[in-house]
């Protein structure tokens, strides 16, 4: 879309406003804008309902309760693995965050046409704010798991628990890279919305959310392919770090191939940033 050397030559010259004090002020106001946008979109989710914010706690709690009854009391799935219900909960919370954040971020640019056409601010703020709003829901869910589910299932914490924040950071990096890519492409190709939704259906299975990764032990190629998916790797490692050491670290299973999901996250971030950066100047014209 944004073509030719002309564009790069014509980037507005900021050198005059380069003093570090002004930069700091600008940065501070951008951080502030990001926060206001994230908070207000979080508020909007619950506005108008009688229970309001309580829903953000109530919904996942009910969700967990249903899963618990169905999987643990009725279906007895995952008998062989330790604490499967909790493994399932963790996987669902992680995947829901991945899904919600990427979908809302994908729409973040296209649905903010009015702001983009009328005010200048770095467009990336809209994408970050959209993902942050999902982060809030995600953090509430994680806290709920630890506070409610953990005592029931006698979770044991150890050194491996320290991997939790690292895995969250990895997941967020993946979400951000994908969001940048999706949000900028979505402005030009609206089909992407449907394509991404279908991809999500596939990814639920491709990320071993509903079953333990060990289920694929008989199909080594398939297991390799699934493990190369960063979402699957993060979910599996989170099971080890948070739920039970009986689920092995993926790095122990995959060996050198462990580099694949990590590399994919880095590549997606780089590609996402590059594509977003290239397409940004035309957003205001196209929306």
């Amino acid at each position: 879309m944004a073509t030719s050397a002309e564009t790069s030559r014509a980037v507005p010259d900021d050198s005059a406003a380069d003093s570090s004090a002004e930069r700091r002020t600008a940065l501070r106001s951008y951080v502030n804008l990001t926060r206001e946008l994230a908070v207000s979109s979080f508020k909007l989710k619950y506005t108008g309902s009688v229970l309001g914010y309580l829903w953000s706690l109530f919904k996942p709690t009910m969700n967990f309760a249903i899963l618990y009854v169905i999987f643990d009391k009725l279906l007895h799935i995952g008998k062989g693995t330790d604490n499967f219900v909790l493994q399932l909960l963790v996987a669902i919370v992680l995947f829901t965050f991945f899904q919600e954040a990427t979908i809302s971020a994908m729409n973040s640019i296209a649905s903010a046409g009015n702001m983009i056409r009328k005010a200048y601010f770095p467009r990336v703020i809209l994408v970050v704010a959209a993902t942050l709003s999902s982060v809030m829901t995600f953090l509430i869910n994680m806290v709920l798991i630890i506070v409610i589910a953990a005592p029931i299932h006698h979770l044991s914490f150890g050194w491996r628990t320290l991997a939790v924040p690292l895995l969250v950071i990895e997941l967020y990096a993946l979400v951000l890279g994908l969001s940048l890519l999706l949000s900028s492409l979505f402005v030009y190709f609206r089909d992407l919305g449907h394509i991404w939704e279908i991809s999500m259906q596939l990814l639920v299975y491709g990320s071993a959310v509903m079953f333990p990764l060990s289920l694929l032990d008989k199909h080594p190629t398939l297991k390799m392919a699934v493990s190369a998916n960063p979402v699957a790797q993060i979910i599996e490692d989170m099971r080890h770090a948070l739920v039970t050491p009986k689920v092995p670290w993926t790095v122990d299973v995959m060996g050198w191939a462990y580099a694949a999901p990590l590399a994919l996250v880095v590549v997606l971030c780089a590609v996402g940033w590059y594509v977003f950066h290239r397409l940004t100047p035309r957003f205001a014209e196209f929306l």
């Binding site: 002309e6 564009t7 030559r9 014509a10 980037v11 507005p12 010259d13 900021d14 050198s15 005059a16 406003a17 002004e22 002020t25 600008a26 501070r28 106001s29 502030n32 804008l33 926060r35 206001e36 946008l37 207000s40 508020k43 909007l44 506005t47 108008g48 009015n114 702001m115 983009i116 056409r117 009328k118 005010a119 200048y120 601010f121 030009y188 190709f189 609206r190 089909d191 100047p281 035309r282 205001a284 014209e285």
Partner: protein, 404 residues
């Protein structure tokens, strides 16, 4: 004086696709035509500088590129060629209420909209009461915006917008929304910006606002810079360009700004609005002196003595006063061709309250049957009442009370 805005050789074209498709199927099935477009040259090689503290107006007919230019200045659009440089922080809003969400309350919207303007939460915490109060919405602050009338929304948006601390303000048609009272508030803020020496770029259709506040005006025509100069000249040029249109629109009392007719045996050569010290102004205070000076030159034979008439209208067309030399028993004696003179009309204490006014000047024969020269709305001016009293005039009456 250093330049706050430098715009050098800016060109911007829009590629308007002949058939824009955002779906995959269309792209695949119309591979050949998908790339077809025509170029719309919105701006072509526009260059100018705005010194710090200048109040610049940009005018032009619809589609002349003025809003595009403002968007390039504000970095919303990237120019295809040329460059824009700004020194000092820029208020990034072009319109009122950017980011407003109807589902949030007024208070929440103030924080959101304020954040777009670059204000932090803490700064807004300090100012929020003042903002709500200025918007006259104290009793509605926690209502959702969707329950507001459009007038209330505009008041709220404006009240936030004027909080911007930026040194450079870019404004697009802010005057187009809102009623006469809202416009008065806008003018008060413009006057404040001018006093504070901020750099303002105002895109508008309101010629009287341009001649009232702008130090300089750019006239755009089909994406090119058609004129760049003082407000009187450029607005006159614009009116000539728009000539055919404005005549059709010209109904009601008086007529369009600058309309002029007469046989010109006596010609108006200049008009000035002065304060007591002889400085020319466009903004006056209630209760302060106002002096109107009209220079004239006699060009041909006049049959008789002549009469000078002034008419002061509020900008919405309401006539407030029509002072005239004959009624005031000042005789303007017949003069020989080639001579000239000055007529002075002095008001010791302006009884007018806050509003914008236009001055029309006319020279007639003494029976008022023949017009030598008449210029409609030759000068606009504004009166600011420091006490913000409601109403139109101060009658200057005195009070007395006798309690019994």
């Amino acid at each position: 004086m250093s330049a706050a805005i430098t715009c050098a050789g800016v060109s911007k074209r829009f590629r308007i696709p002949l058939d824009r498709s955002t779906t995959l199927k269309y792209r695949v099935t119309h591979l050949r035509s998908a790339g077809r477009y025509y170029d719309l040259h919105a701006l072509e090689d526009v260059s100018f500088e705005v010194p710090e503290g200048e109040f610049l107006g940009i005018i032009g007919h619809n589609g002349s590129g003025k809003s595009t230019l403002l968007k390039v200045l504000s970095r919303i659009y990237t120019p295809d060629l040329g460059s824009v440089s700004l020194s000092g922080n820029v208020s990034p809003f072009l319109e009122l209420g950017v980011g407003f969400n109807p589902e949030l309350t007024a208070r929440e919207n103030v924080y959101l909209n304020g954040a777009v303007l670059g204000l932090t939460h803490a700064e807004l915490d300090r100012r929020i009461d003042g903002i709500i109060e200025f918007a006259e919405l104290e009793n509605f602050a926690d209502q959702k915006l969707k329950n507001y009338s459009s007038g209330m929304q505009v008041r709220l948006a404006f009240s936030v917008a004027i909080q911007a601390d930026a040194q450079i303000l870019l404004m697009d048609e802010v005057l187009a929304v809102g009623d006469a009272r809202f416009q008065e508030k806008c003018f008060d803020v413009f006057a404040r910006y001018k006093r504070e020496g901020r750099t303002v770029v105002l895109v508008t259709h309101d010629i009287s606002a341009v001649s009232l506040y702008c130090d300089r005006v750019l006239l755009l025509d089909h994406g090119r810079l058609h004129a760049d100069g003082n407000p009187a000249e450029v607005t006159a040029l614009y009116r000539r360009m728009m000539g055919a249109v404005s005549e059709a629109e010209d109904r009601g009392q008086g007529g369009e700004v600058g309309d002029r007719w007469g046989t010109r045996e006596v010609e108006i050569t200049a008009t000035r609005l002065l304060d007591i010290d002889g400085g020319t102004h466009r903004v006056f205070s209630s209760g302060a002196p106002l002096i109107v000076e009209v220079d004239y030159a006699v060009q041909g034979d006049t049959a008789d003595d002549f009469v000078c008439l002034l008419r002061i209208d509020r900008t919405d067309g309401l006539t407030l006063s029509v002072p005239e030399t004959q009624i005031s028993r000042l005789t303007m004696n017949k003069q020989l061709p080639g001579t000239s003179g000055t007529i002075r009309y002095k008001v010791d204490a302006l009884p007018l309250l806050s509003a914008s006014y236009a001055l029309t000047v006319a020279l007639h024969d003494q029976h008022r049957g023949h017009t030598y020269d008449q210029i409609e709305r030759v000068q606009s001016f504004r009166v600011i009442d420091e006490k913000s009293r409601p109403g139109l005039v101060e009658l200057g009456g005195t009070w007395e009370a006798q309690p019994r």
